[in-house]
Amino acid sequence: MNVQMTIRGGTLVMRLKGDLDQASIESLKRKSVDIIDKYYIRNIVFNFEEVSFMDSSGIGYIIGRYTQVKNRRGRIIVCSMNSLIERIFNLSGLKRICSVVENEEQATKILEAA
């Protein structure tokens, strides 16, 4: 799992690449958890364009990041999911706490309008 992180204002964009599972979330947490607090990140955009596989460990990871930003009235936006990942996402009920959009451009627009 590779991740490219961009911070703009209070928004962290995470472009993920590879499989999001128990084997990869440990290092992903190491790379992201401290940064989210250090830069007072309010909004996180997860770009799944290059993620081919995700299981419930990945869902757990997203829930954890939501917990981190919710006190700052932040929001989580997820974009560019393939159909398998979207099915798992729908099963998880995560749509109640995250927005799902087609691509990163739409995610950015939503945050700019807010």
Partner: protein, 141 residues
């Protein structure tokens, strides 16, 4: 066609990928749709993650066992650990249930296994074992 395979591996996180990969390798000669293969990959990932994280609490000296059987367009997957066991299987299977809430776990493993397979049986004895058996029917294309 009948076929079977048996493997055991250390209870460490990196072996979740190994388990998914050998499962796909075992099925490589069957003409199963990508959709079904993805479901199989996902349920194996869930069952093996449970064995490593919950059953063995990431003790890499312990071994997870995985068996797969193919018989008349039905795949049976068995994932076993001889770890802590589950006190109440029915409670553990409920959506959002997790023993490790502080560690960002979704508590969705069994839900995903139930939805993506045709049959899920969980047998467990406290401090002895957990055996997860999943059956998945498929049609060769």
């Amino acid at each position: 066609m009948k076929n079977e395979m048996h493997v055991s591996f250390s209870a460490q996180n990196s072996n979740v990928i190994f388990a998914r990969t050998i499962a796909l390798g075992f099925l490589v000669n069957l003409k199963i749709s990508v959709n079904v293969l993805n479901e199989i990959k996902t349920v194996i990932s869930e069952a093996v993650t449970n064995a490593i994280v919950h059953g063995y609490k990431n003790d890499a000296t312990k071994l997870v066992e995985m068996d797969m059987y193919i018989d008349s367009e039905e795949l049976t997957i068995v994932v076993k650990d001889y770890g802590v066991g589950i006190e109440d299987v029915e409670v553990a299977k409920q959506p959002m249930y997790s023993t490790k809430e502080s560690e960002d776990r979704a508590g969705l493993g069994f839900t995903i296994m139930e939805v993506f397979t045709d049959e899920l049986v969980v047998e467990s004895k406290l401090n002895e074992y957990t055996i997860v058996t999943m059956k998945k029917r498929y049609h060769e294309e």
